[in-house]
């Protein structure tokens, strides 16, 4: 029969030679291979102490951004919720009251902002849809949780630390992906 590809190779079925039947040379060869592995560099990373660097395009958990004065940027326009293919985002808008100008950047803000991390597919379309640079996907991923409810992230979890009062935490939460 014609071989179907040029890479076909006939299986050798000739009996083993004396050298092969002695086993010991083959065993010695195998042992030298395992021994050489003792000196190889280990690809394992001691995970909780050390993490692998993420790629610059990695999309992790969402962050609700603030401006330089620490005011929330989100105006609860709902464009992210519309853009979301997984329908993971819900929000409730509220009007800014006099005296809250240091908390919210514009007259309207999100009183409630929830993302269901079990529905989210981390596509980043919310980030692209946002006209106010208010939502970003950061470089962290969702930690484990005991209940489904625990994966519905509210504003407490999503909102970035205040850059005025906690600049270090703010920089850490921003990571490498948020535009300044």
């Amino acid at each position: 029969m014609e071989p179907l590809t040029s890479r076909a190779k006939a299986v050798e079925r000739k009996p083993m030679t004396m050298w092969e039947r002695m086993y010991l040379p083959a065993i010695a060869k195998g042992m030298s291979i395992t021994f050489s592995h003792m000196f190889k560099k280990k690809p394992t990373v001691n995970y909780p102490e050390k993490t692998r660097p993420f790629s610059p395009v990695f999309r992790g958990l969402h962050v609700l951004n603030r401006d330089e004065q620490g005011r929330e940027r989100c105006t609860a326009c709902g464009l992210c919720a519309v853009a979301c293919p997984a329908e993971a985002i819900t929000m409730e808008g509220a009007e800014r009251l006099p005296g809250e100008e240091n908390l919210y950047r514009e007259e309207k803000y999100a009183a409630k902002y929830e993302i269901n991390m079990l529905r989210c597919i981390f596509c980043g379309l919310c980030e692209e849809a946002c006209p106010k640079d208010a939502i970003y996907l950061s470089e962290t991923f969702a930690p484990a949780n005991y209940t489904r409810k625990g994966f519905i992230y509210g504003k407490e979890e999503l909102l970035i630390p205040n850059p005025v009062t906690e600049p270090e935490e703010f920089a850490k939460a921003q990571g490498g992906r948020v535009k300044h």
Binding site: I27, G30, M31, T34, F35, H37, K42, P43
Partner: protein
């Protein structure tokens, strides 16, 4: 009666000395067995490019303690259909036979402490090797009884496999030892070591015998590639499948103690035992004192043992398990004829030497 007992001129301090020595050796074997479990996992990990246990303590050194604690805390289940007495006896017997072998191994020459001559051997029996063989053959009862008492067909199959394997490989082991005994002319392990201290290590005179002994030692210890009695993927754990808690721990521990003791026996028979390599022990002892020499000898023996234990682990993580027919073929058709050949050649050469031939 009481008076006659006291009037017998008996060295009561010897009794204390031996009791202390026995307890030290038993605790050391247990400690070594504990750290063998750690070493095994570490060696396996390093050979597979992993890191191994590194959470409990520095470098995972407290891992054996955590494992032991876990085994003690586990629920102990004795199956209702099992034979209760034998079920409890099995692991105890496995552990007992594993520990008993250490009695005749010389761990060093002797210490001169408190004006006493303290030998580092529990009992210098003049039939030391026979004693080891006797005790090691009893080790098969631990497996047999455990497998039988579990009342589980997989355990029984494993027990039968283990028993036939150990009996088959004991033959080749015995014959390879006979060749060694032709050279030494003594069954006492102490005498064998003393001969090697002045002459050559017996591995140089008996390379084939050592190789056969080594392979058989693997089989006797139920170590890969001969671990058919606990083949996970065909017998889903073998003879200790029904065991839980510290009874399981005893079986696993007995395996590691066996490994330690058989390494000690191999080092003693073929690699000079407690002899310090590249040093003339007699002159060193006179120059620096007997106690320092004895300490060095113990360290040297343990160094050899650690090398052997590493070799055991190295082989385990390299070679896959034999099939049952391959195992039997290797034992009966290859090792026994080889050992017989080795015995005949050795006997011939010893005879020539006794008739004053020089070579």
């Amino acid at each position: 009666m009481y008076q006659t007992l006291l009037s017998i001129n008996f060295d009561w301090l010897l009794l204390i000395e031996k009791a202390v020595l026995i307890s030290i050796i038993i605790s050391v074997s247990l400690l070594v067995a504990m750290y063998e479990t750690w070493g095994e996992r570490k060696v396996a990990a390093i050979m597979q490019d992993r890191r191994g246990p590194n959470r409990a303590g520095p470098g995972g050194l407290f891992q054996p303690l955590a494992d032991g604690l876990k085994l003690f805390a586990k629920e102990e289940i004795i199956p209702t259909s099992s034979n209760r007495l034998l079920f409890v006896l099995g692991p105890g017997l496995a552990m007992l036979t594993a520990m008993m072998t250490s009695a005749v191994v010389p761990w060093g020459s002797h210490f001169d402490l408190f004006g006493r001559h303290i030998s580092l051997q529990i009992a210098d029996v003049n039939i030391g090797i026979l004693y080891i063989f006797g005790v090691v053959s009893m080790g098969v009862y631990g497996i047999m009884i455990g497998g039988w008492a579990s009342n589980n067909k997989f355990s029984l199959l494993a027990a039968i496999r283990g028993a036939s394997q150990i009996i088959s490989y004991e033959l080749a082991m015995g014959i390879s030892i006979i060749a060694l005994l032709m050279i030494t002319g003594s069954l006492s392990l102490k005498t064998i070591v003393e001969q090697q201290q002045t002459g050559h290590y017996y591995v140089l005179l008996q390379p084939l015998g050592f190789l056969i002994f080594l392979i058989c030692a693997f089989a006797e210890c139920n170590r890969t590639p001969f671990d058919l009695s606990e083949a996970e993927n065909e017998l889903n754990f073998g003879y200790h499948q029904e065991y839980s808690s510290m009874k399981l721990g005893f079986y696993l521990f007995a395996e590691y103690v066996n490994m330690f003791i058989s390494s000690a026996v191999m080092a003693t028979l073929y690699w000079g035992g407690y002899d310090v390599p590249f040093v003339n022990d007699a002159t060193f002892g006179q120059a620096h004192g007997q106690n320092l020499l004895a300490t060095l000898q113990v360290v040297s023996l343990f160094g050899k043992i650690v090398c052997f234990i590493f070799f055991f682990m190295w082989v385990r993580w390299t070679i896959p398990r034999f099939r049952y027919d391959q195992l039997m073929k290797l034992g009966w058709k290859i090792l026994i004829p080889l050992a017989l050949f080795n015995m005949l050649v050795t006997g011939f050469l010893v005879l020539l030497k006794q008739n004053h031939w020089h070579f």
